[in-house]
Symmetry: C2
């Protein structure tokens, strides 16, 4: 009962994403850059070949499913043990990556004379890294297991938690009802979620095998994996974290005929993940570069977004060496949907106006779309000795 256009839209998005992805791979670039570009081109702002605009609910759902599958797959390729090895770096990178953008964001907006609500919401929108695009670049280049990739993944979890706390504080202040109890209870909920998932999760998943004979337990490990992924993604979103954090945790703790699932999730990945990047691309309006009125502020905010994450990642991960530290910093730059959610809340409550929402949108899209072409050569040019160390671990 959908209009004919939805299937046609999916066809056009998928075709453009696959063709440009293939072309970019042919020239040694990660496919994801082609997929993002495909979205920009067929989207409403350039050729307008798809009938639904960037905000269409159904395309957003498909995109969301895609990035959820992506982070589940990345989680599958990551082990809790390896993450723990880079735990300290990840913690520092994640923390600096929230503190620096927030501080400089407040500084910029306040010095420009914006009022308290504008200052707080734009600064908060600068905090959270969206790890999807970076994870995909690492995956395209088979580099999920190198130390900087692990640091970025761990830092993204830390970062998302801190960004959620910042959002809670900021919303409280803007509403004039800041409550320490609320913040503490939010912290409690997050700690309980992470604690239960990471500590009890692996055990529960392993013990489920003993119940596999019950007629109501799906006999297929794939169905079980998808249930875990959708469940943790939804739960994660319910407590205020990004859905992809839950999906990543699902992959991290999944242990039930894992090799089968790794093989089976690949075609789902191939079918759904490109929609995330193509749909993300449709949001970019190159025309924004001609809108002089918000251009200046957009560029300033984007510059702060880039520089602060780069610095946070670099100084937080210096123990990996300068080259890998720079790689971590670059990997933390993309903002994606989390910044937009913050800005949407501010817009929805009348705290910020559509002009500042536009500024956040520009920052979000530019940091997401522009990062992969810089990240890919950095990964590829890592010195061979470090690559060898990686192979040994594999």
């Amino acid at each position: 009962m959908e209009p004919a256009s939805i299937l046609a839209d999916l066809f056009i998005l998928f075709a453009a994403a696959k063709i440009l992805g293939e072309l970019f791979e042919h020239f040694g670039q990660p496919a994801v850059v082609g997929e993002l570009l495909a979205g920009v081109l067929v989207g409403p702002h350039v050729f307008g070949w798809i009938s639904e605009g960037g905000g269409s609910e159904v395309l957003e759902l498909l995109a969301e499913l895609g990035v959820v599958i992506l982070l589940f797959t990345v989680g599958l390729e990551t082990s809790i043990r390896e993450l723990r090895q880079v735990g300290r770096s990840a913690l520092v990178v994640g923390s600096l990556g929230v503190i620096l953008p927030f501080a400089l964001g407040v500084g910029l907006m306040a010095s420009l004379g914006y009022d308290q609500g504008d200052v707080l919401f734009v600064a908060a929108a600068l905090t959270a890294t969206s790890v999807g695009v970076t994870a995909r670049v690492f995956k395209d280049l088979s580099a999920i297991k190198i130390p900087p990739a692990q640091v970025v993944l761990g830092a993204a979890v830390v970062d998302d938690i801190l960004a959620l706390l910042v959002l809670a504080v900021v919303t409280g202040i803007a509403a004039g009802s800041f409550s320490t109890i609320q913040i503490v209870s939010l912290l409690g909920v997050i700690a309980a979620f992470l604690g239960v998932v990471l500590l009890a999760g692996p055990r529960v998943v392993r013990r489920l095998r003993e119940f596999a004979h019950l007629p109501i337990i799906p006999g297929s490990p794939l169905a079980f994996a998808m249930l875990l992924t959708l469940g943790l993604a939804a739960l994660s979103e319910t407590i205020g974290l990004a859905a992809i954090i839950g999906a990543f945790l699902a992959g991290l703790i999944f242990e039930f005929r894992k090799q089968e699932v790794v093989t089976q999730v690949e075609p789902i990945y191939e079918f759904l993940v490109p929609f995330f990047f193509a749909v993300t691309g449709t949001h970019l309006d190159p025309g924004v570069f001609t809108q002089v009125d918000i251009l200046g502020l957009s560029m300033a905010v984007t510059a702060i977004a880039v520089v602060t994450k780069l610095a946070g990642g670099y100084f937080g991960a210096l123990s990996l060496g300068r080259r890998d530290a720079l790689l971590v910093g670059t990997g933390m730059i993309p903002r994606g949907e989390v910044g937009l959610i913050v800005a949407s809340i501010g817009l929805g409550r009348g705290i910020i106006g559509t002009d500042l929402f536009g500024v956040v949108l520009v920052m979000t899209v530019i940091t997401t779309v522009v990062t992969p072409p810089f990240l890919a050569p950095m990964i590829r040019r890592r010195p061979p000795d470090e690559k060898k160390a990686k192979r040994r671990r594999d």
Copy 2:
């Protein structure tokens, strides 16, 4: 940027579908019955565990993708040669299956004193079989290749074409602008679509391999298969046929590292197809059986829907023997989305009212949900000699 509820809805639908599907399989029933029941239960009319009602656009899209993948898979398992062998039966079954329901539908509605528009639209809504649920039952029982399954698949194509013509005629009459030229040109478009796809399609697909070295051709056969499927489904919908007809044709003509694709499409099937049946189940409101005012007419229309398809299938496929002919008739009963599209057009143009739309909805959902429990035992009890013949062909 979706509300948290969408991922939670997907989790609940998928969990319920997989658990009940597993339970039904355990008791020797096809999983699809459990999936339909799961949708009925968690849907808005019974427990109301999902936040979106039956009409939510995003759930419908996921359902549509599911049934498109289902029919592509069924097409993969079917060969043009085998379809041609049952071509005559399929043609008769498909034709009778449109003529009989339309004729009896007109008779019933006219004898009840409804006006011309009501009569024509309800009768037209009775015509088109939706082959998804039947194909799924055959697939659940590994019986896609038995002759009655092939007849049903072929007849579904014929049926859908005739139903589209009926709809065009009926819409023309109701609008007072019936034009023979329009009907003939519609026929021309359908013939061109089928002709190009079935005659040139396999050759084009085969020759594409020669271009596989070009950097813009997706190297993965799965990406290629999904492109073909989405493309033909969208095209099919654009000219007015059901999207699943295009998806079935895509599977039928696909021939490019086919074994890989057969293996790779399985996980996508396992993830997406249950959403189609669960979402379909959410449309059933068991409360309709207590609404006395439309109950009588709904039951009469549903009875005609069942009896006419049963008769059309039975008499059209008698050459297969009585038992298989009855199987074909039963397989043709489900109506699904096509009947609803007809009724929606009538409703949207103010030709029929919401009460008659409700009647068509009841007919559609009952024929779809109730058929599998009858179909499955009939397939399972086919005599062994015919089953042997099937194995030989495999």
